[in-house]
């Protein structure tokens, strides 16, 4: 009898916890959707902000966000893969590798505003790149590199041993095995990790506010400055310039991030079947 009651209570608490989680998520999403949906229109997406109250659209900020995200990915992907291959396949597993991993994990938990400040000092000022897509992408890569590196390393380690043996057994060298068997086999999971971290880059505010600038601008070269969606949203809301447009931007951001997450899931699922 008492066992049953304990059981019922435990189950009830689990239910409540789950319900709270869903409710919180639902409230946030619902709030943004209700307030932002009225703003969404092709005009809002594809035109420039106008006048002091930033009427009109948010097009240059979307481009800035996607630009910096893409640039960060181009910088991160090769470095993360090479570093992960080294850690997973070549480095003698021991204290040094443990230290590198610990450093990477610590780097991943540095508050992003600190990384923004660092980007400002190093790239914008010391290196003289100025407020630009490149400065922002470099600072973002510092933030994301450890995450992508760890997911890549895990993807590489997840490739079964006996597949590697098959390759070695045919007289493949270590590099041939890594490049022709292990990396292609790990690629779906590596790409999924990269796409997921892309969502993180799209939503990042503190890093880019210090490195990209705030001027509304349609970036063409990596040295152009711009204003990403997150910063646009921040300015519109904090200074009470245009709250409806702020919600519209927030909704667009959420859709973008959701799109990246769904894309990653779709990609992984499709490649599992092969």
């Amino acid at each position: 009898m008492s066992k049953r009651i304990t059981n019922a209570i435990a189950l009830g608490m689990l239910w409540i916890a789950a319900l709270i989680t869903v409710a919180v998520l639902g409230t946030v999403i619902g709030y943004v959707v209700i307030n932002g949906i009225g703003e969404l229109s092709p005009r809002f997406i594809f035109t420039w902000p106008e006048g002091v109250a930033a009427e009109g659209g948010v097009w240059p900020t979307i481009v800035s966000t996607l630009y910096v995200t893409a640039l960060a990915m181009v910088i991160i992907t090769p470095i993360a893969i090479l570093a992960a291959v080294y850690l997973a396949e070549y480095a003698v597993q021991g204290r040094l590798v443990g230290t590198i991993r610990f450093a990477a994990d610590s780097l991943a938990s540095v508050p992003s505003i600190v990384m923004g400040l660092f980007g400002l000092a190093l790239f914008v000022e010391a290196a003289g790149i100025g407020f630009s897509m490149l400065s922002a992408a470099l600072a973002l890569s510092f933030l994301m590199l450890p995450i992508v590196m760890r997911t890549t390393e895990e993807a590489i380690r997840a490739v079964p041993k006996y597949i590697r043996w098959g390759s070695y057994g045919l007289g493949a060298t270590k590099w041939q095995t890594v490049s022709r068997i292990v990396l292609p086999a790990a690629m779906p999971r590596i790409i999924t990790g990269i796409i997921l971290s892309t969502g993180r880059a799209v939503g990042e505010t503190a890093v880019v506010i210090y490195t990209m600038g705030q001027a509304i601008n349609l970036p063409v070269s990596p040295l152009d400055s711009g204003r990403p969606m997150t910063v646009h949203l921040y300015l519109l809301a904090m200074e009470g310039i245009n709250l409806p447009a702020a919600y519209g931007t927030a909704l667009l951001l959420m859709i973008l991030i959701l799109g990246f997450n769904l894309g990653a899931r779709f990609f992984l699922r499709r490649n599992r079947k092969v």
């Binding site: 098959g166 070695y168 292609p184 086999a185 092969v274």
Partner: protein, 268 residues
């Protein structure tokens, strides 16, 4: 049980010679004092209870144990008279000459064609016509061609377990090895494929030397010319080679009491 009709002659040359081999995993002494001659162009079976070091011994021949940290061999293993542990020997070259089939079929996550072409491509074969021919020929020798000739572009992992194992055999044959090591190749697959693998072994041994580890004594008796029986008598002690003889002798009149106990215990 049909024993082999044309026995390998007594004066057949030795392909592999093992003298006083000891093997260690770190502090664990896995094998001791193994001495055996493996005849060329014959099938040799390794039998014995699980955990007695058959796989370990097999992996010495192509130095796959080099991949295991802390693993170490002492003694002599020679291939065609050449000591394979000598510093001048590149394990990568050795593995081209000595192919290996594993218990778990392990096709690469790529097409059937690419699986078979993998080895030749490593060696620099890149002409389409040449690769096509190697792929077809290898699949034919592995008794798989008829089943896959129209689906060569399909993923190797979409095949059944038994087909996957034959694909792995084709993949090894594509590099024209002199020796093929098979570690319980039939323990995880369907009976039809087992039959096909036993058939292909009989065909292949005209040209290559085969060593097969098997749990199935009927299989050892059916496919092999020579049999080696391994045993770890006391847990924690290294395993030894108890008896090595022509398969027909070993199964009908074992010289060692322990061999007899093992084969009768399992045959009943």
């Amino acid at each position: 049980m049909a024993l082999r009709a044309t026995p390998v002659p007594d004066n057949a040359p030795n392909k592999i010679t093992v003298k006083e081999l000891d093997f260690f995993y770190g502090d664990f002494h896995a094998l001791t004092d193994i001495t055996v001659d493996i005849k060329e162009k014959a099938v040799t079976a390794f039998i014995g209870p699980s955990g007695c070091g058959k796989s370990t011994f097999l992996r010495c021949f192509n130095r796959m144990n080099d991949l295991i940290p802390g693993a170490r061999a002492e003694g002599l293993v020679s291939l065609d008279g050449q000591d394979i542990f000598e510093t001048g020997v590149d394990p990568v070259d050795l593995r081209r000459r000595i192919g290996m089939i594993f218990q778990q079929p392990n096709p690469f996550p790529m097409s059937i064609y690419d699986n078979v072409a993998f080895g030749p491509r490593l060696q620099g074969v890149s002409k389409k016509a040449e690769l096509d021919e190697i792929v077809q020929h290898s699949l034919e020798r592995a008794n798989l061609w008829k089943e896959v000739k129209d689906i060569l572009g399909r993923g190797g992992l979409t095949l059944s377990g038994g087909q996957q194992q034959r694909l792995c055999i084709a993949r090894v044959l594509a590099v024209e090895p002199e020796v093929m090591l098979m570690d319980e190749p039939c323990s995880a697959i369907d009976p039809t494929s087992v039959q096909k693998i036993e058939d292909l072994m009989a065909e292949l041994k005209d040209r290559i030397t085969i060593i097969i580890v098997t749990h199935n004594m009927q299989q050892a008796a059916r496919v092999s010319d020579f049999t080696a029986f391994f045993l770890q008598e006391v847990a924690g002690d290294p395993a030894i080679l108890v008896e090595y003889d022509r398969t027909s002798n070993l199964f009908t009149s074992p010289k060692d009491r322990r061999t007899e106990d093992y084969i009768t215990g399992r045959f009943g």
